[in-house]
C-alpha cells in the first residue's frame, strides 16, 4: 500500500490488463464523442440565445457539424510562421491536449457508493471487480491540479513560440490569469478535502452519500468560488481575456492553423467537460442520487445517468455564461481573483477548520462562529484598506509626475 498499489489491481494478470485497456479505449472514444457533442451543444445553445439557428445542415439537427469541421481542418494548409520557434511551436498542442485527456481518468462515472461499497462494479465475470473510473490514485485531486498546471504551459508556449505580438500578449495574459485563479481553485478545494479527509476522488464521492453533498456541506462559498475560478481557469467567457477577439485576434492560437488549431480547440472543449465533471465530483456527489425506488436492473445504470445529468447541467451553465455575460476588464479580473476570491476562500477554509476541530474538542460552536465572522470582517477591512492605500499612493505619484 505504501507505493499506492490498489488492492483491486495488486496481482496484475491478463484479465486486469485487458480491463485497463478496454476502459482506456472506451474512455478515449467517449471523450472524443462527448467533445463533438459539446461543441455542437454550445453552438446550438448560443445560437438560440442569440436568436439564430446554429448548425443545422450536417446530419440531424446539425449534430455532425463538428465532425465535418474536423475533417475540413485536415485538408487545410498547416503553416509554421517564419518567426516561430519550430520545435516549441510543434510541441505546444501536445502539452495542451494530453493533460486534457488525463484529467478525466480520476473522475468516478458511476457505481454504487451506498453503504460503503466504494463504487465497485463487476465486469467480465464476478472475479474481476473494478471501479467505474479509469484510475483511482491516492493523490486524485492533486493530479487534477497538476494537469491543469501543465495545460498552462501549452497555452504559454504556444503564444511565446509564435513570434507574433497577438499570441504573445494572449499567452502572457493567460499565464497571469490561470496562475491567479489556480490559487483560488486550490484554496476553495481545501474545504472539500476537510470534509472528506482524503485526496482520492473515489473517497470524496463516497463521503457525499445520502444528500450530504459538499456544495452545501461546506457552506456554499467554496462551491461558488470554485465555479468562478474554474471558469477563469478554462479561459471561458466572461473570463476569456486570453482570446479576446476584439483586441487579440485569436489570442494564443492566432498563428495556428489546420489540425494544430483543431487540437487546441479539442483540448479547450475537453477541459470544459472535465472541469464540469470535477465540479460534479467534488461538490455534487458525483454519481450519487436516489436509487432506492428503481428496479434491480436499473440500479447499476442510475448512478451513471445521474452523473451525466449533473454534468450536462454544468455544461449548460458554462454555455449560459458565454451567452449572457460580458467580458471582464483585465484589472477587474485580477482584482476579483486576488482581492476577493483568494482571501475569501482562505478565510472560509480556516472557519470550517475551526468548526471541525471545535466539534472534536467540544468548543461552543456559536463562540467559534462569532469569533470567525468577526475575524473575517476584520480581514476584509484590512484588505480593502490596503487596496485603498495603494490607490492613494498611486494617485499621489501620478499627480507628482
Amino acid at each position: 500500500m505504501i507505493f499506492g498499489i490498489d488492492p483491486l489491481l495488486e496481482n496484475i494478470d491478463g484479465a486486469a490488463i485487458l480491463i485497463v485497456l478496454v476502459k482506456v479505449v472506451i474512455a478515449f472514444a467517449a471523450l472524443m464523442v462527448s467533445v463533438m457533442a459539446m461543441v455542437w451543444f454550445e453552438r446550438k445553445i448560443v445560437a438560440r440565445m442569440q436568436n439564430r439557428l446554429g448548425p443545422n445542415v450536417a446530419g440531424p439537427f446539425g449534430i455532425l457539424q463538428t465532425l465535418a469541421d474536423g475533417i475540413k481542418l485536415f485538408f487545410k494548409e498547416d503553416l509554421i510562421p517564419d518567426n516561430a520557434d519550430p520545435f516549441v511551436f510543434r510541441l505546444a498542442p501536445y502539452l495542451s491536449l494530453v493533460p486534457a485527456f488525463l484529467v478525466f481518468m480520476v473522475i468516478p462515472l458511476g457505481g454504487d457508493f451506498n453503504n460503503g461499497k466504494g463504487g465497485v462494479v463487476t465486469w467480465f465475470g464476478s472475479t474481476n471487480e473494478t471501479l467505474f473510473q479509469l484510475a483511482d490514485p491516492h493523490i486524485g485531486i492533486l493530479f487534477v491540479l497538476a494537469m491543469s498546471s501543465i495545460a498552462v504551459y501549452g497555452v504559454m508556449l504556444a503564444g511565446w513560440s509564435s513570434g507574433s505580438k497577438y499570441p504573445l500578449l494572449g499567452s502572457v495574459r493567460a499565464t497571469a490569469q490561470m496562475v491567479s485563479y489556480e490559487a483560488a481553485l486550490g484554496l476553495s478545494l481545501l474545504a472539500v478535502l476537510l470534509n472528506s479527509g482524503s485526496l482520492s476522488t473515489n473517497a470524496i464521492v463516497a463521503g457525499q452519500q445520502a444528500w450530504n453533498w459538499n456544495a452545501w456541506a461546506t457552506g456554499g462559498v467554496p462551491f461558488i468560488v470554485f465555479m468562478i475560478a474554474a471558469t477563469a481557469e478554462l479561459n471561458r467567457p466572461p473570463f476569456d481575456l486570453v482570446e479576446a477577439e476584439q483586441e487579440l485576434v485569436g489570442g494564443f492560437h492566432t498563428e495556428y492553423s489546420s489540425i494544430r488549431f483543431a487540437l487546441f480547440f479539442l483540448a479547450e472543449f475537453m477541459n470544459t467537460i472535465t472541469m464540469s465533471a470535477v465540479i460534479v465530483t467534488l461538490f455534487l456527489g458525483g454519481p450519487a442520487g436516489p436509487t432506492g425506488w428503481a428496479p434491480e436492473w436499473l440500479q447499476g445504470v442510475l448512478p451513471t445517468v445521474y452523473f451525466f445529468a449533473k454534468l450536462l447541467m454544468f455544461l449548460f451553465i458554462f454555455v449560459w455564461f458565454r451567452g449572457t455575460l460580458p467580458r471582464l476588464r483585465y484589472d477587474q479580473l485580477m482584482d476579483l481573483g486576488w482581492k476577493v476570491l483568494i482571501p475569501l476562500s482562505l478565510a472560509w477554509f480556516l472557519l470550517l477548520a475551526a468548526f471541525k476541530v471545535g466539534q472534536d474538542q467540544n468548543w461552543n460552536r456559536f463562540l467559534v462562529g462569532g469569533v470567525g465572522v468577526v475575524t473575517i470582517v476584520f480581514g476584509a477591512a484590512l484588505v480593502s484598506g490596503a487596496a485603498s492605500a495603494a490607490r492613494a499612493r498611486r494617485a499621489d505619484q501620478e499627480v507628482a509626475s
Binding site: 498499489i5 485497463v20 478515449f28 487545410k76 494548409e77 498547416d78 492533486l142 485580477m334 498611486r394
Partner: protein, 158 residues
Amino acid sequence: MGQYLPILALGILATLFALISLIASRLLNPGRPNDAKNAPYECGIVDQVAPPERFPVRFYLVAMIFIVFDIEIIFLYPFTAVYRELGSFGLVSVIEFAVAVFASFLYVVANGALDWGPLKQVRRSGMMVTPSRTSTSTIRRVGQEGREVHVGDEGVAA
C-alpha cells in the same frame, strides 16, 4: 503501481492520436506556403515592429506571489487529512501560518503590486451644475423641430 497503468495508457493513446492526426494532416493538406502566409499575423499589413521582449514587471510579481500561495496550499492539503489527530494544536499552527501569509499579502496589496490598468480619475466639472439641468432639458431631440403635428394626421391619431 497498478493505478497508474491506465494513466500511462491513456497518455500514450492521446499522444498517438495527436501524432497520427498531425501526420494525416501533413499528407492531406496542400503545402503551398509563401512569404505572405508565413509572415506574422497583422491583418495583411507588413509588421514594422518586432514583438516586445519585455513585459510589465507586474506579471512577474503575480507569478511570485502565486508561488507563496501555492506553497501555503501545499502545506494545507496534508493538514486536511490529519486535522483530527492534530486537534487544537494543528488549528493554531495553521492559523499562525495563514496570518503570516496574509500579512505579507496585505503588504503586497498595499504596495500596489496587484493593481492593474490606469487609475480611475474622477474630475469635477468646471461648469455650474444646477438641478434644473436634467437629461430632458439638456438633450435636444433631433428631428422634432419643424415637424408640426397636423390635426387629423392618420399616424398620430392612431
